[in-house]
């Protein structure tokens, strides 16, 4: 067990008869974050707050969609569903594993929404209401419509092929006129819904493109479908030589498959952004009359206006951007900055929406709420990015659209020539040219390969935020790391202690841990973890002096822990101290008139950093370290990793200038960073990679986010990107070669329509199968460093971590 909380949860699970969770889970739940004062969930019970996201189904029956955090495997879904379903008053609880959303219906007279949320929290997960319920509805409608179109096209294709096959196989004259007409009519009946329903998006898209005078891929596709359908319709009723219903349906089906894959990938990327939503609280405490007193009204956060004064209690998130009017506290702004060290906020300071107030109540004058806040802006940016299409896909579209213009000219020319040779065959040759040419192989070649790559990377913890990332990743020559949080953990641990003469080390540690008991500072966590008998000492009258340290009374004696001058104020003259370890941060402990100990803390290397750097160097990439930290610390890390190019003490704009210089030499640079101070250099790099444990703002600006801070994902991503680029090229070469050959044959009048249909289908299929080949990881493993070296198998199964 990692904490008493886990123990309580494990007991609750076992007592509730839910212990089969432990048997069937396939992944560990994320570690509990440091406890923060819990915001009051009861605010969600107020009708005016609920109006935004709760649907009323009857007198007491209510329904809402909750976003669940912490779902890592199917067992979590099961656990949550069973736990919620077993509560009295909950009518139904259904969790969608794919979207991590729970649909909950409950009886308002028997259980409150806040109680439901509390119950989810009690088993170690977090739930918050999905305010974007409308977006959710739209998404579902979109998905269903797309599936329905796909199904109509697929089923139409299969059945039309059934009718077309006999005509291809039968000997001349063995099929009576009537039967063949009947089959054509049946094909027509089934093709009509495919053309007018399934292919409707292509026609609409083509119409939109034409009105904007920017022909995209939809124009040639719509034209191909339209011409082939028109010609077949004409042939059916005039007894013409050939119909192309089978080719049309197949064409539409393959194209819809590609679109479907693309849409799924886009939706998954968008779902990754929803965590930005939860930072903005739904409700706020508005002060009724600031001058007179502190009575507050609970109001929905969105109903706040600029100029309103709100009270933000400890443990709550600020509901909007604003400035502090009263109070002195520390805020966690890691949502925007990634800097988990709390920032001091006093009256007059600006505060951003979503900042977590850690210590004492604040009164904030609101300037921006809702969509106008900084956080919402970030989310919009990231959303827009996820809608972008990769540059290489755009290129393929442009090529394809030119290609189709070429095909049109070519078909017209062929028809003219044949008009002169044999007028009766002219139209059919032209149609054969149109059908056999396969723009869909071209337009499928890239998106399918990209979609496969995005999916594969996401499974390995690398989320592609911007579409061009895969393309850029394949061509990277230089990889630059920012030290803190990327190569290192970004967490402190105790490496050396210097007890003063006559002081027991354990005792000093226990005192330090007791002083830091209530602090969330990374250093406090490290000291708390190092103390063996932390419980033996009790400190009281704790006082936090932001920026300096902490003071408290232990055994009636005033103790201080913190920076050297801060402790020296009570402990007396400076002690001569041995030089600290390279790159270590030192804090001191002292009491009235006496020095007790010094502690050296460092930020250790990530366990996989060494292997990742070696792997990159072995692949011929240059690895550099640019850090804002002190020279000694950076040098130590660089030596340890075998990196020669390292520079320390750089300011953000220094990094940017160096990046520019590198790029002028023709380098394609990938920058791996985690803090907001890296934002300028990340923007300058051709490819920016952010750590999932870092700042959300940085993540929103990055091209790739390595979730759960797995550096290993970078090496794998480069391998996968290179493979994807290879496959895209193969596909384009194949599609071009096929089209050149097929077009010449068709123009020569050598391609019968069924051959044209089969050729087109086969070339699309080859392209798609080649792209799907990347899903099998045989070649990818070459780029992987053995994971087991860094993640030794867990031995302790006795310690469940719910």
């Amino acid at each position: 067990m990692c904490c008493p909380g886990c123990k309580a949860v494990a007991e609750a699970i076992a007592q509730g008869g839910l212990s089969s969770y432990y048997r069937s889970r396939t992944a560990y739940a994320p570690r509990a974050t440091q406890p923060v004062a819990q915001a009051d969930l009861r605010i969600y019970d107020r009708p005016e707050v609920q109006s935004g996201f709760v649907r009323s189904l009857g007198a007491h029956e209510r329904e809402t969609t909750l976003i669940l955090e912490g779902i890592t495997c199917a067992a979590c879904v099961w656990l949550n569903e069973r736990h919620l379903g077993g509560l009295s008053g909950v009518l139904s609880a259904q969790i969608n594993y794919a979207t991590r959303r729970a649909q909950v219906r409950w009886d308002d007279s028997r259980i409150s929404l806040s109680a439901i949320l509390e119950q989810v929290e009690s088993i170690g997960y977090r739930a918050w209401p999905a305010t974007s319920a409308n977006a959710e509805q739209t998404r579902r409608r979109e998905t269903r419509a797309a599936l329905w179109r796909l199904f109509v096209a697929g089923f139409g294709m299969m059945q039309v092929m059934m009718y077309a096959l006999p005509a291809y196989l039968a000997d001349e004259g063995s099929m009576s006129e009537d039967v063949s007409l009947l089959m054509r009519l049946a094909s027509l009946v089934l093709t009509v819904p495919v053309v007018f329903f399934s292919a409707a998006p292509f026609f609409l898209g083509a119409w939109r493109d034409l009105r904007r005078r920017r022909p995209g891929m939809d124009v040639p596709v719509a034209l191909g479908i339209g011409v082939a359908f028109g010609a077949s319709l004409f042939a059916t009723f005039t007894g013409g030589a050939e119909v192309y219903f089978d080719s049309i349906t197949m064409f539409v089906f393959f194209l819809l498959c590609a679109r479907w894959l693309e849409m799924r990938a886009r939706q998954k990327a968008a779902a990754n952004l929803e965590y930005l939503d939860k930072a903005l609280p739904l409700a706020a405490h508005r002060l009724r009359d600031f001058a007179r007193g502190r009575q507050t009204d609970e109001v929905p956060a969105l109903s706040l206006r600029a100029g309103d004064l709100v009270l933000v209690r400890a443990g709550e998130n600020c509901p909007g951007d604003g400035s502090v009017v009263e109070g002195d506290t520390e805020c966690d702004e890691s949502l925007l900055t990634g800097e988990s060290t709390p920032v001091r906020k006093r009256s007059g300071d600006k505060i951003t929406a979503g900042s977590l107030n850690r210590l004492s109540p604040l009164v904030v004058r609101i300037t921006h709420v809702g969509e106008e806040t900084c956080v919402s802006g970030v989310r919009r940016l990231a959303e827009r990015a996820s809608m972008q299409r990769p540059r290489i896909a755009e290129l393929a579209e442009r090529v394809a659209s030119r290609f189709v213009v070429g095909v049109l000219i070519f078909a017209t020319a062929a028809a003219l020539v044949w008009l002169w040779v044999d007028p009766s065959r002219a139209l059919w040759v032209a149609v054969a040219v149109l059908v056999v040419s396969c723009p869909c192989a071209l337009s499928l070649a890239t998106p399918t390969a990209m979609t496969v790559a995005v999916g594969r990377l996401a499974r390995r913890g690398a989320v592609i935020v911007r579409a061009h990332a895969i393309e850029a990743l394949a061509g990277v020559t230089h990889v630059v790391f920012d030290k803190t949080g990327t190569l290192t953990e970004g967490r402190f641990s105790l490496v050396a202690t210097m007890p003063q003469r006559g002081v027991e080390l354990d005792r000093a540690l226990a005192i330090a841990a007791a002083l830091e008991r209530d602090s969330e500072h990374p250093i406090a966590t490290a000291l708390g973890a190092a103390a063996t008998d932390a419980g033996a000492v009790v400190a009281c009258a704790l006082r936090n002096v932001p920026g300096s340290g902490i003071e408290g009374s232990v055994f009636g004696l005033r103790h201080r822990l913190g920076s050297l001058p801060f402790v020296a104020e009570i402990a007396g003259a400076l002690q001569p101290a041995e030089p600290g370890r390279a790159g270590a941060t030192r804090v001191w402990l002292g009491c009235d008139g006496r020095w007790l100990a010094g502690f050296d803390l460092t930020d250790p290397l990530r366990p996989e950093a060494q292997a990742v750097v070696q792997r990159l160097q072995a692949d011929g990439k240059r690895v550099l370290i640019w850090s804002g930290d002190a020279t000694a610390a950076v040098g130590a890390v660089a030596r340890q990793l075998g990196v020669e190019d390292c520079e320390a003490g750089l300011l953000p704009h220094d990094k940017q200038a160096r990046m520019l210089a590198l790029q002028q030499q023709g380098a394609v640079v990938a920058m791996v960073g985690d803090g907001v101070n890296d934002a300028p250099v990340l923007a300058q790099a051709q490819l920016s990679i952010a750590m999932g444990s870092g700042a959300l703002l940085t993540q929103a600006h990055a091209d790739i986010v390595l979730l759960s801070g797995r550096l290993q994902g970078l090496v794998e991503a480069i391998g996968i990107a290179a493979q994807t680029r290879r496959i895209v090229r193969q596909n384009l070469v194949w599609a071009t070669a096929y089209n050149v050959v097929a077009l010449s044959l068709a123009a020569a009048g050598l391609v019968t329509p069924w051959l044209a249909g089969i050729g087109m289908g086969a070339s699309s299929l080859i392209v798609v199968l080649n792209a799907l080949r990347a899903r099998h990881e045989a070649r990818g493993t070459r780029h992987e460093v053995k994971a087991s070296r860094f993640f030794p198998p867990r031995t302790s199964h006795l310690a469940p971590r719910p």
Partner: protein, 49 residues
């Protein structure tokens, strides 16, 4: 081969029937979560609660 005059129209009717069945299953949400049920079937819910 006269049977074809019955079979071909019948197959068209059948296609529309199947289409309707799919439309119904789509509307009832059976395709909303394609991953969960595959895992859920492995859960043993028979034990005493």
């Amino acid at each position: 081969m006269e049977i074809l005059y019955l079979l071909i129209p019948l197959s068209v009717v059948l296609v529309f029937l199947i289409g309707w069945v799919f439309w119904w299953s789509l509307g009832s949400g059976q395709f909303d979560d394609l991953e969960g049920p595959a895992h859920r079937i492995l859960q043993d819910d028979d034990g005493p609660q």
